[in-house]
C-alpha cells in the first residue's frame, strides 16, 4: 500500500481523464499544443517539479518560454492536488489504523466477556455445589440430633430397666431353685414330672431372655456414655487380652484367636470404652467365622498391634463370611444389624467408631464377602 508520505507520481495525482483535460486547457492557453507525460519524450521537454521531485515532463509548445510558463502553472496546480492527496491518504491511513485498533479492542472485550461469562458459570456451579454441601450437612445434623435424642431416650430407658431386670433375673434364678425343690416334694407321676420339667425350661428361657435384656442395656449405656469415667493411661495390649478372654468365655473357648502384639507405649484413653470397642469387634469377628458352618474349624481371628508413624494400630482380622457390598455402607449406622432379631443391638460398630473418633483416631474396615474382614484401628500416641 502507498504510504501517505511517499512521493506521488503523476498517476497518483491525476487520473487519465483529468490529464487529458489539463492538456486541453494548457493547449488552449499556448500557441502550440503542449503535452504532459510521466516520461521524457524528447530533449526539449522540461521537468515539472513538485517538492523536489520531478513528477512529469512537459513537451510541445512554441518555445522554451511557453513551456516554462506552462510548467510553472502545472507545478502550482500540483501543490493543491498533492495537498488534497496527502490529507486524503493520511486520513485513510489513520482511519484504518483506528479501525484496526477498535477491532483489537473489540476482540479483547469479547475475550474478556467470555472469560467473565465462564467465571460466572463456574461461580454458579460452585454456589450449587456449596448449597448441596449445606443441604447434606443439614441432613446429617438433623440425623445426628435425632440419633442423640434416641440415644438419650435409650439411656433413660436403659437406666430405668436396669433395676427391674436385675431383680427379675435374680428372682427367676431363685424361682428355678424353688421349682427344683418343689419337684422332689410332688407325687412322682409322669404328669407332675413333665410339668415340673417344662416349668424349669420356661424359667431357664426367661433367665436367658433377662440376661439378653441386661446385655442390651449395658451396650446402650456404653453407647450413650452414661458412666463416663475420666481418661487414664491405657495399655492397649492388656485391654485387648482381657477383651479376648471375655469373648472366649462367651463362645466356650472354642475360638481360634492368634495374638501378635508388639511393644506399645501407654496412651491416654477411656479404658472401659476401648475394652467395649475391642470386645464388639472381636464379637463381630467371632460371629463371622461361626456363621460359616461348613468350615467352622478353619475359622481364625488374627489380633495384631503395632506402632507406626506416631500412632498405634490395632488390626482385628477374620477369615469369616465378610460383609456383602450392599450392606457395607450401612455397617456404621446405629441400630443396623445383619444378625437375627434379638441377637444384636446394631450398635457394635457404631460404638466402636464413636469411641475411636473420641480418641482422635480412625477406624477403617476392609471386607470381602466369603473371604473375611479386616478392621484397622488407628489411635494417636499422646
Amino acid at each position: 500500500m502507498l504510504n501517505f508520505e511517499d512521493d506521488p507520481t503523476l498517476a497518483d495525482l491525476l487520473n487519465s481523464d483529468q490529464l487529458v483535460r489539463l492538456n486541453d486547457c494548457l493547449a488552449a492557453l499556448c500557441t502550440e499544443p503542449v503535452t504532459l507525460g510521466s516520461t521524457r519524450p524528447d530533449t526539449h521537454a522540461i521537468p515539472v517539479e513538485f517538492n523536489l521531485e520531478t513528477v512529469a515532463w512537459l513537451s510541445g509548445g512554441r518555445d522554451d518560454q511557453e513551456r516554462q510558463a506552462a510548467a510553472g502553472l502545472v507545478s502550482f496546480l500540483m501543490m493543491f492536488i498533492a495537498k488534497y492527496r496527502l490529507a486524503a491518504n493520511l486520513h485513510h491511513d489513520t482511519t484504518e489504523a483506528s479501525y484496526a485498533e477498535l477491532q483489537r479492542q473489540n476482540e479483547a472485550l469479547r475475550a474478556s466477556e467470555a472469560r467473565y461469562r465462564e467465571l460466572s458459570d463456574q461461580l454458579q456451579q460452585r454456589v450449587d455445589e456449596q448449597v448441596g454441601v449445606i443441604h447434606k450437612t443439614q441432613q446429617a445434623l438433623y440425623e445426628s440430633a435425632r440419633l442423640r435424642s434416641v440415644g438419650q431416650l435409650a439411656a433413660g430407658v436403659a437406666h430405668e430397666i436396669n433395676n427391674p431386670i436385675g431383680f427379675i433375673s435374680s428372682n427367676l434364678r431363685v424361682a428355678r431353685d424353688y421349682v427344683k425343690e418343689m419337684q422332689t416334694m410332688l407325687p412322682d407321676t409322669s404328669d407332675n414330672q413333665e410339668l415340673a420339667t417344662d416349668f424349669t425350661d420356661l424359667l431357664n428361657e426367661s433367665i436367658e431372655g433377662a440376661g439378653r435384656i441386661a446385655d442390651i442395656v449395658s451396650d446402650l449405656k456404653t453407647f450413650s456414655s452414661i458412666d463416663q469415667a475420666d481418661y487414664t493411661r491405657c495399655n492397649i495390649n492388656a485391654l485387648l487380652t482381657s477383651a479376648i478372654h471375655l469373648v472366649q468365655t462367651e463362645y466356650d473357648h472354642q475360638l481360634h484367636i492368634m495374638e501378635q502384639p508388639s511393644e506399645l507405649p501407654d496412651i491416654s484413653g477411656h479404658p472401659s470404652r476401648l475394652s467395649q470397642t475391642f470386645f464388639n469387634l472381636l464379637d463381630n469377628a467371632a460371629q463371622a467365622i461361626r456363621s460359616e458352618e461348613n468350615s467352622r474349624d478353619n475359622g481364625r481371628i488374627l489380633v495384631k498391634t503395632l506402632e507406626q508413624d506416631g500412632a498405634i494400630q490395632v488390626i482385628i482380622q477374620d477369615n469369616g463370611c465378610g460383609i456383602p457390598e450392599a450392606n457395607r455402607s450401612r455397617v456404621f449406622d446405629a441400630f443396623y444389624s445383619s444378625r437375627p432379631v434379638g441377637s444384636g443391638t446394631g450398635l457394635g460398630l457404631t460404638v466402636a467408631q464413636d469411641t475411636v473418633r473420641a480418641h482422635g483416631g480412625r477406624l477403617q474396615l476392609h471386607s470381602r464377602e466369603d473371604t473375611g474382614t479386616r478392621v484397622t484401628l488407628t489411635l494417636p500416641i499422646n
Partner: protein, 226 residues
C-alpha cells in the same frame, strides 16, 4: 526509519515537530520556510483548517546533492497538537529520524507540556522507536510572552536529561528557530552518518550537512555552538 533507495541514490530523512496544542509547531515550520535558503527547497504544504489549527500536518521538503550524486532530502513535518488527533500524530511520527519537541514556556502550560511529552514517549514506543536514542531537540517557545517560566528553572529541570541544554525561542519573530534546527541537524547527522556513511561514501561532512541544510536567507552568522 530513513528511506534510502540505492537505485535513485536518494536518501529521505524525516523530522517531526511534536508538542502540545498551540505551542508553535507550524510557526516554527513557516519560519524555517521563509528563513532557510538551502540548495533545494520545496513548497510549504500547510493544510489549513478553520481557526488555524493543524488538522492533519504541515510539511516542508528541503534537500541537497552530495558530490556522489546523492539526492539527500529532509522532510519536515508538524503533527496536530490537539489531544483528539492522536492517531494522526502516530501516523506522522512513524519512521521519524528526528524529533523537535516544541514546548510552551508559559507557566500555565507546563502540565500540557508534560502530557504531550508523555504522549510522545508513548507513541514512539508504539511505532517502534526509542526516545533515548532518537535524535531530538527540546525547544521552549514563546519567550516573548509575559508569565513564562524562567530559563534557569527550565534548564535546571531538564539538566539530567539527554536533551539538555534546552533551546529558548520566539518562533513568531524567528528567534531560536534556526538554532533549534541546526542542533537537530547536528544530532541527526551522527545517526545518518553511522548508517549511510555520508562522509565516506558521499563526501558530506558534519559541518557541510549542517551548513548546507540550514543556509540562512539573511546570511546571518550561526549562533549555535557545536
Amino acid at each position: 526509519m530513513p528511506d534510502f533507495s540505492p537505485r535513485d541514490n536518494k536518501l529521505a530523512l524525516k523530522v517531526v515537530f511534536y508538542g502540545p496544542a498551540l505551542s508553535g509547531k507550524t510557526t516554527n515550520l513557516m519560519q524555517l520556510h521563509s528563513l532557510l535558503n538551502p540548495e533545494r527547497k520545496g513548497e510549504l504544504m500547510v493544510l489549513e483548517t478553520r481557526d488555524d489549527r493543524t488538522l492533519f500536518f504541515d510539511m516542508l521538503p528541503i534537500g541537497l546533492r552530495g558530490s556522489s550524486g546523492l539526492d539527500l532530502r529532509l522532510k519536515l513535518y508538524t503533527v496536530p497538537g490537539q489531544v483528539q488527533h492522536d492517531s494522526t500524530r502516530k501516523a506522522v511520527l512513524s519512521r521519524a529520524d528526528g524529533v523537535v519537541f516544541v514546548a510552551d514556556s508559559q507557566a500555565n502550560q507546563q502540565e500540557n507540556n508534560a502530557t504531550a511529552f508523555g504522549n510522545l514517549e508513548e507513541n514512539l514506543e508504539k511505532v517502534g522507536l526509542d526516545i533515548d536514542t532518537l535524535p531530538m531537540v527540546v525547544q521552549f517557545n514563546k519567550r516573548d510572552l509575559p508569565g513564562v517560566v524562567e530559563e534557569n528553572e527550565l534548564q535546571e529541570r531538564w539538566a539530567q536529561t539527554p536533551w539538555s541544554p534546552l533551546v529558548m525561542a520566539t518562533a513568531l519573530h524567528g528567534d531560536g528557530v534556526i538554532d533549534t534546527f541546526r542542533i537537530l541537524l547536528d544530532r541527526l547527522y551522527a545517526a545518518a552518518d553511522a548508517e549511510f556513511r555520508l562522509e565516506a561514501d558521499h563526501d558530506i561532512s558534519r559541518q557541510q550537512f549542517v551548513e548546507r541544510l540550514s543556509r540562512n536567507s539573511e546570511n546571518e552568522a550561526p549562533r549555535a555552538e557545536f
